[in-house]
């Protein structure tokens, strides 16, 4: 009797040790995927303000964007006047920039990939690389924490050995109540915090609940941050492919 129960115990321990972490990491994977999906939807169209804050100045730009999944995106600047009409087109991993002043479309070459996108704390590369969280990282729930009064899963993302990402580690907090992202922290390999993405002002927009304000804080360069404030957004609408074409890009608005 005792023997069988020991075997039973052993195998259940084995079961737990072997399968639960997998289940947990599958969970972590799923949690993050859900969080990202909730932010994006299959497609979206919206207007937002981007505020670039530095110790020297604050700059505000008003933009309109169209997204289809993680593959295609078009962002058009509406104000200020100096930049109104400038557009960014992303198709999969590549970006093109249309500049109204000179009516030029250029493909962003690798040499410019790490330059900031429109002066923000995001790089051109960030724009194309968003989609890679699932492919490039191993996910693991490490704990639950309270962020801004909300109970969240704290998920650790470790880059897979062959993933072309510079980060050493990411921490991703997802709110348990509504599965929305609360915060992401980016660390270098030595454990130094390089930047933080903070989400806030959760409300219902376009039929969904999501954070209206996204703030990217540049921890490596204190005093620098970029804020996105969503003014309006609609999800899962039909956006014709024509929107993401070069003709559309070069049409002067």
């Amino acid at each position: 009797m005792r023997r069988t129960s020991i075997v039973g115990l052993a195998s259940s321990v084995l079961f737990i040790v072997a399968f639960v972490p997998a289940a947990m990491s599958q969970n972590a994977d799923a949690i993050i995927r859900r969080a990202e999906d909730l932010l994006k939807g299959k497609s979206s169209k919206g207007t937002f303000i981007m505020r670039v804050i530095t110790p020297e100045y604050t700059r505000e730009m008003r933009m309109e964007s169209w997204w289809v999944g993680n593959d295609k995106a078009l962002i058009v600047i509406r104000s200020p006047k100096r930049e109104a009409g400038n557009k960014t087109l992303k198709i999969k991993n590549e970006i093109w920039s249309y500049l109204k002043n000179t009516e030029t479309t250029i493909k962003i070459p690798p040499s410019m990939m790490l330059q900031s996108w429109n002066g923000s704390d995001f790089t051109n590369d960030d724009l194309v690389r968003e989609s890679s969280l699932a492919a490039d990282y191993a996910h693991k729930i490490v704990s639950t924490e309270i962020v801004e009064g909300e109970k969240c899963w704290k998920i650790e993302l470790t880059p897979k050995p062959e993933a072309p990402v510079v980060w050493g580690k990411l921490y991703y907090w997802v709110r348990q109540a509504d599965d929305l992202p609360a915060r992401v922290e980016y660390y270098d390999e030595r454990g130094k915090l390089m930047r933080t993405m903070a989400f806030s002002a959760y409300k219902v927009m376009g039929g969904r609940k999501l954070p209206a304000t996204w703030t990217m804080i540049n921890d490596a360069d204190p005093g620098h941050k970029t804020e996105f404030e969503i003014l309006d957004v609609s999800f899962d609408i039909k956006i014709s492919d024509r929107v993401f074409s070069f003709q559309e890009l070069e049409r002067r608005y």
Binding site: P110, M113, L114, D125, P161, P164, G168, D188, K192, A220
Partner: protein, 404 residues
């Protein structure tokens, strides 16, 4: 008979002969030293510049050196290999993938020339391995990278950290890959250290979607002197779709600087040569003039002018050859240890900011140089004796005896 007399004459007045001999010996030693050091310096300078990476000759698709886009790959690598195997004068070669890329760390990024190499092949052709100051050279395993120490500082990374490389692929998309720093190097040129990074060829080809194509052949000739004709030969054999560039064409500005240094040293050699010749001439002149009284006696005793002249010239040539031989011996004795261990130039200039190896000069003595000096020095001694000798025989014996 005259010969014996001439020889005995030399040793009759040891002091005088020794002084002349000394001038010749010292002159010879100085020339051996200067000649070998100039040759060694030039080779050293060239080695510094081209030994790290440039190598003697590079082969690319035509147009590559003007516009280093990834699409400009070698049209037919096996054809080039065949030509290289079959061309005499080629010592070794290596294949490289070369493209402009962006290297980034978590804190910074920098534009570089990304070079994909086969470590085993590459080590035979370039000397980066010797410049690795931390860690080790590439082993050929995937995802290894070595970069310049100052580049690592700029990127805020150290040995063992990872960096991401991003570059245009063959089809125009942006390719990227992650690498771990296994070694840091420091060469003669801080510009080079900042701009070049090395990864395994296979890695580069996969990241850039090249298949098995490469961008560059680096070729080492058997000797430096062969390079110009090798350049021409290879150009002819490979034809119009390739460009064959020698190190001169690859580093024109550096070569210009070296050429000037070469000329400057030539001038120094001239000056030193002049000093040497003057030393010998002065000693010889004085010595012969001092003996005019003695010659007068000889002439009064009946020696014919012609014979006297010959005797003087013979004595001068004996001294010349003897001095040359002794000088050669001493010169070699000084040369050999330097040839083995080199001369550290930093002893001659404070503030010489050198990276170890490159401040040391290894002198080179060629057979040609030795022959040249062996002929010239005795010649100078003989020619120097001609003027006073002529003066001597012109004098009337009585005058000569009273010569002061």
């Amino acid at each position: 008979m005259l010969a014996k007399l001439a020889w005995r004459n030399i040793w009759r007045n040891k002091r005088r002969s020794l002084i002349v001999l000394a001038a010749i010996v010292v002159g010879m030693v100085v020339l051996v030293f200067s000649e070998s050091f100039i040759a060694g310096s030039l080779k050293g300078m060239l080695d510094n510049q081209i030994g790290s990476h440039t190598s003697h000759i590079q082969i690319h698709r035509k147009g590559f050196s003007d516009n280093k886009i990834i699409q400009s790959t070698i049209p037919n690598a096996s054809f080039v290999e065949g030509v290289l195997q079959g061309t005499p004068g080629v010592l070794r070669h290596s294949k490289r993938v070369v493209t402009y890329a962006l290297i980034s760390s978590a804190s910074n990024s920098s534009g570089v020339s990304l070079v994909g190499v086969d470590p085993a092949q590459e080590q035979q052709v370039s000397k980066i391995q010797a410049s690795v100051v931390q860690g080790s050279y590439l082993s050929g395993k995937d995802h290894e990278i070595i970069l310049g120490k100052n580049l690592a500082e700029r990127l805020g990374v150290a040995l063992g950290d990872k960096v991401v490389a991003m570059a245009s692929m063959l089809d125009g998309h942006v390719g990227s890959d992650v690498f771990r720093i296994v070694g840091l190097f420091e060469t003669f040129s801080s510009d080079f250290d900042r701009l070049y990074v090395f990864i395994p060829t296979g890695n580069a080809q996969r990241m850039l979607g090249l298949g098995d194509q490469i961008s560059e052949f680096a070729v080492l000739a058997q000797t430096m002197e062969l390079v110009p004709q090798l350049d021409v030969m290879l150009e002819r054999e490979l034809g119009g779709s390739y460009e064959v560039l020698s190190y001169r064409e690859l580093l024109p500005a550096i070569m210009a600087i070296l050429d000037v240094a070469d000329e400057a040293m030539g001038i120094y050699y001239l000056i030193i040569g002049a000093a040497t010749i003057f030393g010998i001439v002065n000693a010889m002149l004085m010595s012969v003039f001092e003996r005019i009284r003695e010659f007068g006696v000889l002439m009064a005793m009946g020696m014919k002018n012609g014979k006297l002249f010959s005797m003087i010239v013979l004595e001068a040539s004996y001294l010349g050859v003897l001095g040359m031989l002794i000088g050669m011996g001493v010169g070699l004795a000084i040369y050999l240890p330097f040839w083995k261990y080199g001369l550290d130039l930093s002893a001659f200039s404070e503030g010489l900011t050198m990276v170890g190896m490159s401040a040391v000069v290894y002198p080179i003595l060629t057979v040609g140089a030795v022959i040249r000096m062996a002929v010239i020095i005795p010649l100078v001694a003989v020619v120097a004796a001609l003027y006073p000798a002529t003066k001597a025989i012109r004098l009337q014996p009585v005058r000569a005896i009273y010569y002061v």
